[in-house]
Point group: D3
Chain length 280, copies 6
């Protein structure tokens, strides 16, 4: 079992509800789990650790409380920080902003880089950063009452932490993607499901969590060599040419097919028993 004490970071709860399964909870419910700077740095640290933790094979991400997955950026905090910065020289101010955005993006991308599959449950208010963050996860589920919005244009900003970059790769209706990004309108799980932003909608957060856990346990029961590779190779392929995707995959599997897990999985299949795979 992974050790919860390795994962003590302010504004996050990390627990291990099943063998090889981690649950990361954004924990600032009194502010609808809105993010300020320390939080994305902590998020990054947690997912970097999960990535290499041999006792973790899948991860669930939720927000604490029923009201919100996350309301997004804590605008009040931001308006006293980065967004209020003034400078006599727009080039130097711009350079500081660029460094800041890189850092912020990198923290969110660490969720995507986590070697283990991540399931996000978008529940309640899921605004702004909720999209940036969940689009860096692998599987997106939601509830009947989730309120989605790409909120950024409402504060004069083009979303820059990942939403505009990952959205066209994640949903199969570019017209819908632009509509929600340009209007900042609130939309429901129905639309999210219809146009491909989530792949499952459940009655409420509890049910969504139960389903996510079942899925996480299922994934954790597979060879970690196979699931890590599957996540890695889909992420690699999505923005490369077919030719590049295939060739890279072959090189990847040149090492990975040599795993003992293939033999164990096959034998277990024949023997109708559940295989046990050694740690990654």
């Amino acid at each position: 079992m992974a050790d919860p004490n390795d994962y003590k970071y302010e504004f996050f709860n990390v627990t291990f509800p099943a063998e090889y399964v981690a649950h990361v909870e954004i924990n600032r419910p009194e502010k609808m789990n809105a993010f300020h700077e320390i939080m994305w740095h902590n998020l990054s640290k947690i997912f970097k650790k999960l990535s290499y933790d041999p006792n973790v094979r899948s991860v669930i991400l939720t927000g604490a409380g029923d009201r919100a997955f996350t309301a997004g950026l804590d605008v009040q905090a931001a308006s006293q920080g980065t967004l209020s910065r003034t400078a006599s020289d727009p080039a130097r101010a711009g350079n500081a902003l660029r460094r800041h955005i890189y850092e912020f993006q990198d923290c969110i991308t660490d969720v995507e880089k986590c070697e283990k599959p991540v399931i996000a449950i978008l529940h309640g208010i899921s605004f702004g950063l909720a999209l940036d963050l969940s689009l860096a996860c692998d599987i997106r589920l939601s509830t009947a009452t989730t309120k989605f919005s790409i909120k950024e244009v409402d504060i004069g900003i083009a979303a820059d932490i990942g939403t505009l970059t990952r959205l066209p790769y994640s949903v199969g209706n570019l017209s819908f993607a632009k509509d929600i990004a340009l209007t900042a309108r609130i939309f429901s799980s129905d639309e999210a499901l219809q146009h491909g932003l989530v792949s499952g909608v459940y009655a409420d957060k509890a049910e969504a969590y139960a389903q996510a856990l079942e899925k996480a346990v299922l994934i954790a029961s597979k060879s970690p060599v196979a699931t890590m590779g599957t996540k890695h190779l889909i992420n690699y392929s999505r923005d490369k040419s077919i030719e590049e995707g295939l060739r890279y995959t072959a090189v990847w599997n040149a090492a990975m097919l040599q795993t003992q897990d293939v033999k164990d999985a096959m034998l277990s299949g024949i023997q109708k028993r559940t295989p046990k795979f050694s740690k990654l």
Copy 2:
């Protein structure tokens, strides 16, 4: 208000139905708004102008009359022009064709390059060029009676003005995309919506226009720095790697986050009033 006199181009009506909103109407209803060469050059000129017009923040594109958004290329005109060209030397003929296709493509791409978001309403007959053109727009809406067809193979041509290029980036069902492109069959708004070609279907053209106008007004009420950036960054990201998309976005926002609009939008949010943004 933008000046309609700046936009007097044959075969097009350009009006300004609301503040910061332009409406471009393809106006050759007696030929079902079919395009001949002067028309795509005019279209290009109109959208280049709209792109930099500080009085425009969003655009609606429709066809005049009820019968057709556009029936596509005016084949009769084309058959007396480009497509009938004969040459003793296929290389020289090919070179002339290549130059011609570049020009034609560039005109349609000027709709995509327009800095302001463009909403297309596909109504009635929407054949051939209707797809090339609307796929260069940002948001695609249609009506219960729209008849769609990628008509090109029926005249012995692989569509070359944008449909085959943009379609796989716009809809999330490649099997559907190839089906309609290979068979030239007529399909309905139901399929278009199901497979991601449009994001909204309305009873008739009037209702679709009313909804589009509402959307256009909503977009026009936002910071133009934010909406221009949002369109630009989604278009940029859709065909770059995630890494490239993120890094470019950071560089873009190094300048754009310095806008006064962020402060104005935040303050308006706090004061519960509608912000007024200065012109772009």
Copy 3:
């Protein structure tokens, strides 16, 4: 008519149910059409031949019998071959595996490279390689009882013959794509249609075949210059930038628009008769 004698390959039936239409049937029904090595080499040979056969303009791919399109890799055979290989030196073993995967991938990619459009009918058991293979086809249809699964993780493998590479380009819900790839769960045509993996679902194999044949005949009635170009250009464009897609298309059509078929198609349109196009 194409000559069936040119297409005598073990484990495949190739017939010509209509003018210019080929039907390739995977024929190992007693093993649920599972693949062993000779089969992908034969598949490659068949599709290379179809690609250049002037008597073929569209292709249908099915599995023999009602039970399965294909159950995927014949794991038993594989476990005695490639997957059981042991080596004292993982580098040399890895190199042998890489060569093997390249070869296998290339065989499946020959279906994609076939100049003529290919319609796959996923019926019955459609596991593992069924996905790799059908994702290399152009149009995917299925039946009410099809059972889909990306089975690879269940044998300790990240799918490497094309599924993980082509899936994100084919379906418009990345969350769904990862879900099915990571869990290896069996899913139905409903989900496959909803999320964009197939574009048509029919009551049973017979009806699906009837519909596929109608579609194949329709495609075969068009100019082969136009349909070949359409397939080629969509495949080219899907993983290139919009700019590159447009420019390549123009260069392609510099030769292809000079075809006699354009004149024939237009004249036939005017004369309301079916055009006859010469062979490719």
Copy 4:
């Protein structure tokens, strides 16, 4: 013969020193051929015209007078224009700058896009824009006394009209490229030749011109289908993968190899006479 009257643009002389050869001279010698805005627009117009002019097959580019090819941007003019622009809103100022840079870049890129090969003679002072401009040409020659400098950092700017983009593709010593770009130091033809920036150095401008003319006449004597294709395909290939370069080339030549010029060139070769090719 091309008609000089088609090419009357202020600050440029365009002449036709030999059949099918054009000579473009930057003509503002009293200011060392420094560029202000009207000049790059005129340059663009000239090269667009040359590109399609059937009477032109190769082009030479020089500066009027002995003192300078060009001293670069007319900084005085720029400091009263773009570079002095102030704005209360750095985002809006930035957007105006971006539009301006696009336009400026596009004008210079029109030299690269010119279908006919362009030979630049860098003579005398060749600073700043001299590099941006000549790097958009195909062949770069210089003289024993040419003074080169990437001057931009000396006015607080990273060169943005093409030098930093094209330099790494043009010279084979990245250390040298960065050295000259970072230090703005003046360097000689010796270094330019050694590190690959020019391919020929001549005693003085007159001799360089004589050699350039000989080369231009030689190029103009070849099939224009072949030379246009050669320029186009090298430019295409230089920044694409080998695989993409090869495949695009094949598609290009699908039309171009059908030229009558191949037969004429071969026959002329056998008959030991100079072929005459028809106009492009």
Copy 5:
């Protein structure tokens, strides 16, 4: 030792002058080693075989006789074949040409794909295809009397078998590359060395061969895992981004660093003896 009997192909001599070293000689000296169609197919077969032959670790490529490495395409043969083809339909003719060019390119690319490093000696007449071919090799050497020419424009053609694609990646002076491609002028080893086309020039063919053999023997003495990887990774990296190059390299070495050869090489280093590596 490799078996010469495996390599009996008309117009080529394949010998094994040293352990693990193959020597491929183009053998049609009476026609200055000019290529007709059977020859590039044989060349492809030879290099595919060498690629997987465990007894081969490096390859030398020369032309038989003193007069020519190769005079290029046998134009007479070509003029009776592909280049003379006429067709009433330029699209169908173009398609046949495209297929033909793909095939021809693929044969030459098989030299590049050969897993073992290939050293070409350009001696005597080295025209046209000599460049296409040697640019697909790894190391290019020449002699004091080599006559180089990119001859294609002289027969009305833009070189399409690899020269225009690979040249900009191989030499560090784009101006030189375009000069020789556009003028078809004959140039010497001096220029070839100065501008980066070859990396060594020797007095005559015999000396060049002696040096090449020494180099080939040296390469063959290294771990084949290391040399194969080195060739593969440079070829991969040259046309990918730095980021992609690094990441692919890491995945490649995940398997390859596990080789026994590392331990053997280190131990041999300590023991000051020559390591013996097992076959690839």
Copy 6:
């Protein structure tokens, strides 16, 4: 002045020989500055700090002592660490290696990512990692007695920390690049200069340092907005298409041209005095 106390890292000396100039010295002369793991982590930390240090505008990198810039990887240390790792499961071992290579690569890439230009002096023994490391620097200088070698194949490895990736982008003779990478032969500054690996060769280390310092001081005297941008944009452009390079540059300069430095630099130019730029 930067504070040396901020830069106390074992095995490195960091000093500030002139205003805005840092000097990083690899300091393990008793082992010829060979690297073990702590060293690349320290190197990374130093360059990350220099990147954002407002008191640093250019950096020089050398090795302590006269014998070596660096002899490369400390093979003895490596052979007890990573390279000796054995595992029953090659997939798990491979995954550990991949993680390790990523980390190592990232540390070296931090030199490239450092916003400030870096000048490397390759002196004495410059083997293996010396190339990986200096290729991540901007300007490479060497001495008359430098001994270069891409040593990796001699220990059974394809170089994976950057040499094979960056070399083809840095030198303009691919044949030379492959020769040195495949043979691991020792080569001199003559060859390094001729083929583009270094851009300056000096009598000895002292002179090279003097020249590097002069260059570093010169660069440090320029606007830091301009030099940072110049480094960034060349690095960006070198592996992107020309089109992408130009467009990114325009977006970058949208913020950067608004710097006060442009006005200061111009005014200083007119007033013939040295401008003082504020800190970055």
